[in-house]
Subunit: 413 residues, 2 copies
């Protein structure tokens, strides 16, 4: 059971979390809990760190920021003890949960699950401070923002959990953003691969890394709301309360062609005009951007009539636009020949996601036609086995999402 920041925002909310845990224990389950910092705590700690030094030692950042989860783990252990549920807190270094040495955004390397399962079989609930572990240098390492989800999945894998329940401030994963499409439906189930596409495109319910890790280790994730009454009936149509199960696609009996519509407004587009087309030109453009850790997404290349020049268009996170433009301009004439660079961050990426696409043709064509009918101009297209993404003008984002959501029959009855 993993509880996010809003679920543990104060001691009263932590008591509510305790009631959720006690319910599971009373039902005969063995439970380990992973907690985030109290909502707002991490932001305060990060703000102090930045005030102490604009450029700062990531190892010190980790020591400071990890204290937030440390507090919550102790408070929940006390609350559980008060409810008659034996419990103790665990910090990352106590388990130990070992990470690599990338302080500030470390990756988990191993977890000693044995000490946890031994305690759990005695009826004790370990409450684990999320988001952190211990690096090879013996110092605290954090997993990067949102890393408590990743902690939870890693712990679930290490102890061989049947399921990893993510309690958050929403009651599941929706077919699209309900703020844009009020008719969006909560999905009962979604495959890991689909969730990855949804999450990386802005669904924001779960950290992408946690879904990747769940897929690799086959940890079933269940997203549900911590605002549910702890004593509400726990048996819904899934054999589970309201929420979304993220699982292997084998568990999804009735596969839909399209599962959901995702979008991301945090996109920018760069076009290089009349790039001299010669072997290695792609490397000359994208190599320096990769070196600067700029994540390029959609790439479209068109060749001129005579084949001597090419136009290259690609997308990137809007926050990286200025840096990328500067890098490319600085290379102009110095290994990279092009006539002009144009860019915009007034674009949006809309994606249609579904594992059923693999066995259904014509999904993409249907989307393009529907968007054309609404007058939505498509700037670029990329596709994968289970996803079609289109880049459009930002002004049309909501229209496109609503159009596609209806088109594939996702609107609630």
């Amino acid at each position: 059971m993993k509880f996010g920041g809003t679920s543990v925002a104060n001691v009263e909310r932590i008591r509510n979390v305790g009631a959720h845990v006690k319910r599971e224990i009373d039902a005969g389950n063995e439970v380990a809990v992973v907690v985030s910092a109290m909502a707002g705590a991490t932001n305060q700690l990060v703000a102090w760190t930045r005030e102490a030094g604009a450029i700062h030692d990531a190892r010190e950042y980790d020591a400071i920021v990890a204290s937030g989860e440390q507090v919550t783990s102790g408070l929940l252990a006390i609350v559980l003890q008060g409810m008659g549920v034996p419990s103790r807190s665990f910090q990352g270094w106590q388990i130990p949960l070992r990470t690599d040495e990338t302080h500030g955004s470390a990756r988990i390397e191993s977890i000693e699950g044995g000490s946890l399962t031994a305690l759990m079989s005695e009826g004790l609930v370990p409450v684990i401070a999320g988001f952190q572990g211990v690096a090879p240098d013996g110092r605290i390492a954090t997993l990067g923002r949102g890393g408590s989800d990743t902690s939870a999945v890693a712990v679930a894998a290490a102890i061989g959990a049947d399921r990893c329940d993510i309690y958050t401030d929403v009651d599941g994963v929706y077919t699209t953003d309900p703020r844009i499409v009020p008719k969006a439906q909560r999905m009962e189930r979604i495959a890991f691969e689909e969730m990855l596409e949804m999450a990386s495109l802005g669904a924001k319910v779960l950290q992408v890394r946690s879904v990747e890790m769940a897929m690799v280790h086959k940890v079933r994730l269940f997203v549900r709301s911590s605002f549910d009454a702890p004593d509400a009936p726990q048996v819904g149509p899934n054999g589970l309360p309201p929420g979304t199960l993220i699982c292997d696609e084998d568990e999804i009996v009735e596969k839909q062609v399209v599962t959901g519509i995702a979008y991301s407004k945090d996109e920018a587009q760069i076009t290089l005009r009349r790039v001299k087309d010669k072997p290695g030109v792609a490397a000359a453009v994208f190599g320096p951007l990769a070196d600067a850790a700029i994540n390029v997404d959609m790439i479209v290349q068109t060749v001129s009539d005579d084949g001597s020049t090419t136009d290259i268009t690609f997308t990137l996170p809007s926050g990286d636009l200025a840096k990328a433009s500067q890098i490319l301009e600085s290379r102009k004439g110095a290994g990279l020949d092009f006539e002009a660079l144009s860019s915009t961050d007034d674009v949006c990426k809309v994606s249609v996601v579904g594992i059923g696409m693999r066995s259904h043709a014509g999904v993409a064509a249907k989307a393009f036609e529907a968007l054309a009918q609404k007058g939505v101009n498509i700037r670029a297209i990329t596709t994968s086995e289970i996803k079609i993404s289109v880049l459009i003008d930002a002004a049309y984002a909501e229209l496109a999402v609503r159009t596609l959501h209806s088109l594939y029959g996702l609107d609630k009855a």
Copy 2:
């Protein structure tokens, strides 16, 4: 160098602390730093802990509350790095600073000073989270409120420091409380034994345990204000800036008969009337109180004319008065025969402290005479080699302190 809570209350104050540390490094000193939590942080953490459970697991209390110093240690390390001073934070478990298993008020058992001195000789400043260590169970243990002073003295002893500088919100130890006697003077030097008597009687500048530990390990303490300008001249009459050196009495050349006047208002008095006087009566009264961890201080016993009964009067912390009265009443007739119990917490203890008393007679008589002249009624008296304490009505506390302060020539010129 140890910095208390008000000295690190926010990042700006921590920057000021950094400037104090840098000054010492620039002067060619090797320095280790111990920090408290930011002022208010510990109170917030304790409040949450109490809200989570009125009765709570001390191990969880420790995990929660120790996070305050963890934050400060990281912030100061970042600030020092920004000033060009290589630095890193240390948590108790990283040094390790080992304690016994008394969570919540643990005692230090050992410190591995070697890792610290090795780094210090390379020019690095370790910034140690005060107030905490790691217990034999592998969990965080705190040293009790004010324990950062004790941490600092223990670290100073472990690394063989020349001096342990305690930066606090006052600029030294005074001959008495300046709020009562404006003419109180800052002492340049005070012996460990004197400071112990002063501290335990309410001087409150330093935790008593830290002074005991400093005396045992012969760690010279220097109390000074963190509000001094870091770049002010550092050479005063002691070869030190303004402050008070707490040291072995051998270092004090000109020993004064009386060094200071301490007082404590947190006192209560219990009298048992007509206690049947027989062997073992003292044990029958004080044994049960000791079992309940009630610290009895002044004891006065008077015997009746015929020697068959006795009146026993003693003092104790006022917070323990109700519990002590209840314990004694419950024993009445059951192993303890007395006629009546009377008590008051409207009393105050005033003490005259000075190592010079050892070689000077008549110090006490002079005090009793001066108090009598002012109409101050003395309820009880206890004396030690270097201290005379009198218990008086609380209403006369200020009068008695001022009278004795003048009597022994402690008023500033």
